[in-house]
């Protein structure tokens, strides 16, 4: 049995570094912020319990 090691490539050839839709990135960033804002608001409410 013989083996050959495939060395890892430095990066994907060609192609943009951030393929995809920028709008989707923004949506998910806003979603994360929104979730943490909700948690923060819950904490504010809990303080008043």
């Amino acid at each position: 049995m013989r083996s050959r090691t495939c060395l890892p490539a430095a990066s994907a050839a060609g192609g943009p570094a951030f393929p995809g839709v920028l709008v989707l990135d923004l949506i998910y960033v806003i979603a994360v912020i929104a979730v943490f804002v909700v948690v923060g608001l819950i904490a504010k409410g809990v303080e008043k319990l």
Binding site: R4, L24, A31, I42, L49
Partner: protein, 557 residues
């Protein structure tokens, strides 16, 4: 013979955990109470501008947890999106947006749900700098929150519950890092791979070619189990021989999952000044664990149908190297500790057997639960149990000298409602929203009917309770499931933390009341029974209806 081996394995596990309980629990108690800082810690405190001697109120402690976590989410998201330009990306492209969000939420919340095949999606830089780092710090955050709650019980008339940054750094550098390094060395000795070789192309004896993946697996495997994270380096997780090589590495990984969660009650007992209070919590956790393990093992060892009878049990989806007993032990451990690692496919368990991992998570991950989250979950249930006992027999509702007034009971009640709401609402919305329902039924579910319903229920149960194990048979890499499960993970982690820290602050502010004839003893077997009963009852009342639509319907059919 297999039964004898299973008995020996269980006895060995119990012996190791018993030997570890006191030294590890005492070490953690020392770790979180000492005033001595390490040099590296002092450097980090200066770097983040923290005075290690200053104490925080519960809102300030919470702000630290949330700020640290939101930065973690953005970092893990960004590093996945930038994967293509990072070194050691293995030629892999950037991770798509929805999957990046889901994975970032998953690893920051200590869930480690994976909607992807790791070896085909994540390069080494993302695995190490993003995911492995979160394996350490998310576990340290969980322990920090538990310690803050313990301080709440231990302190009198105090406006503070500790310093989050001190707890975070100590948990990471003095507890998780050294034990993970030692554990990784043990795993390497056991045959778990540790290299940066990428894929190795082999010519098989039959003349075909095969690509074998390598990678820094042992280092990630160690913290994956020790921090009750569960995210595998390979798609098949601990069923892969490069992640879990032999029978003894399997047992070692189980020990790693249970060591800290089972030792934390000792830490609790030490810090509140009564070791027997810790034994009561430990006994409750251990009793629920044994009951669940025995039930699942009996169900899998006696699988119905011709094939299971001929094989001596339900062997579908189980690794031949481990068999039924090591699979049920691993599965029970993994789903009762919020780890979520698997060495067998839970989707292939018998119908009622498949319900057991689900039930384990539905208990709220408290027996013994995740690192830190298990202890604080059980202590919240103890508050509920004391309150119920007070209602039943007219005793004063107080626990460890702290009066449980309306505020404490409201916080504890809200705590036990959060995850059920997320689980049930997430599952219901998946089948109720037009468009989403069609997507879930045609793209995600591979097994239509009641089993498909179980797959979706399992996914939301796993995400909301921050377990991370998958029932398999469900394609979760879709816009809906990536987004909904990601949000469930974040809310399922941080809303309970808000309530726990608020409870800690409320308790710390109180003085201790003296023990009287009307005080319920919370260290006796009757309290252990009461606490276990409350835990099961809360779960059963909440989830029984939905279980009848899934695994119970399938099992009784």
């Amino acid at each position: 013979m297999e039964l004898l081996f299973a008995g020996l394995q269980a006895a060995t596990l119990a012996l190791i955990l018993a030997l570890v309980y006191r030294p590890l629990g005492d070490y953690m108690a020392h770790l979180y109470t000492t005033t001595t800082d390490w040099k590296v810690e002092r450097g980090l405190y200066r770097l983040v501008g923290v005075d290690p001697r200053s104490e925080q109120s519960w809102p300030a402690y919470l702000r630290g947890v949330l700020a640290f976590s939101v930065v973690g989410v953005f970092f893990v998201y960004a590093i996945q999106r930038a994967q293509a330009v990072l070194p050691y990306a293995l030629g892999l492209p950037a991770v798509p947006e929805g999957l990046s969000f889901n994975t970032a939420a998953s690893f920051v919340t200590n869930t480690n749900w994976q909607s992807y095949s790791p070896e085909l999606t994540m390069g080494y830089t993302v695995q190490l700098a993003g995911l492995a780092v979160q394996n350490f710090v998310s576990a340290a955050v969980g322990i920090a929150v538990a310690i803050a709650l313990v301080r709440g019980f231990a302190r009198r008339r105090s406006g503070t519950i500790g310093n989050f940054w001190v707890d975070l750094f100590r948990g990471s550098f003095r507890l998780l890092l050294p034990f993970a390094v030692l554990s990784a060395i043990v795993l390497i000795i056991g045959g778990v791979v540790q290299n940066f070789n990428g894929f190795t192309e082999l010519t098989t004896l039959a003349g075909n070619t095969q690509n074998l993946p390598g990678g820094p697996v042992a280092s990630q495997e160690a913290i994956k189990e020790l921090g009750t994270n569960g995210g595998g380096f390979f798609n098949t997780n601990s069923a892969h021989p490069f992640e879990n090589s032999t029978s003894w590495t399997n047992l070692f990984e189980i020990v790693l999952m249970l060591a800290i969660p089972f030792a934390l009650p000792r830490t609790f007992g030490r810090m509140v000044g009564s070791n027997r209070q810790g034994y009561a919590i430990l006994a409750t956790m251990a009793s629920l664990f044994v009951i669940s393990l025995v039930t699942l093992t009996m169900l899998e060892a006696d699988g119905a149908g011709t094939a299971p009878q001929l094989a001596g049990g339900a062997m579908e989806g189980k690794e031949q190297r481990y068999g039924i007993y090591a699979s049920t032990l691993f599965g029970t451990t993994s789903t009762l500790t919020s780890t979520g690692a698997v060495n067998s496919m839970h989707d292939s368990f018998t119908a009622i057997g498949g319900m057991m991992p689900m039930l384990n998570m539905m208990l709220g991950e408290v027996a013994p639960g995740g690192v830190g989250s298990g202890l604080y979950g059980m202590l919240v249930l103890a508050v509920i149990a004391v309150f119920i006992a007070g209602l039943l027999v007219g005793r004063t509702p107080e626990y460890l000298g702290k009066k449980l007034g309306p505020r404490e009971i409201k916080l504890a009640s809200l705590y036990i409602l959060v995850t059920p709401i997320l689980v049930l609402a997430g599952t219901a919305l998946s089948f109720a929203i037009p468009g989403v329902r069609e997507d879930v039924e045609t793209v995600s579910i591979w097994n239509p009917g009641v089993h498909g319903m179980s797959e979706v229920l399992y996914a939301f149960t796993s995400a909301s309770n921050n377990n991370g194990s998958a029932f398999a048979g469900l394609t979760a890499n879709t816009p809906w499931l990536n987004s909904a499960l990601g949000i469930a993970m974040l809310l399922g982690r941080f809303i309970p933390i808000v309530l726990v820290l608020a409870l800690a602050g409320s308790l710390a502010a109180q003085d201790k009341v003296p023990v009287t004839a009307g005080t319920l003893p919370t260290y006796r077997p009757q309290f252990v029974g009461l606490l276990g009963g409350v835990t099961v009852l809360v779960t059963a009342l909440t989830y029984f209806p939905v279980l009848t639509l899934g695994p119970l319907a399938e099992g009784l059919n």
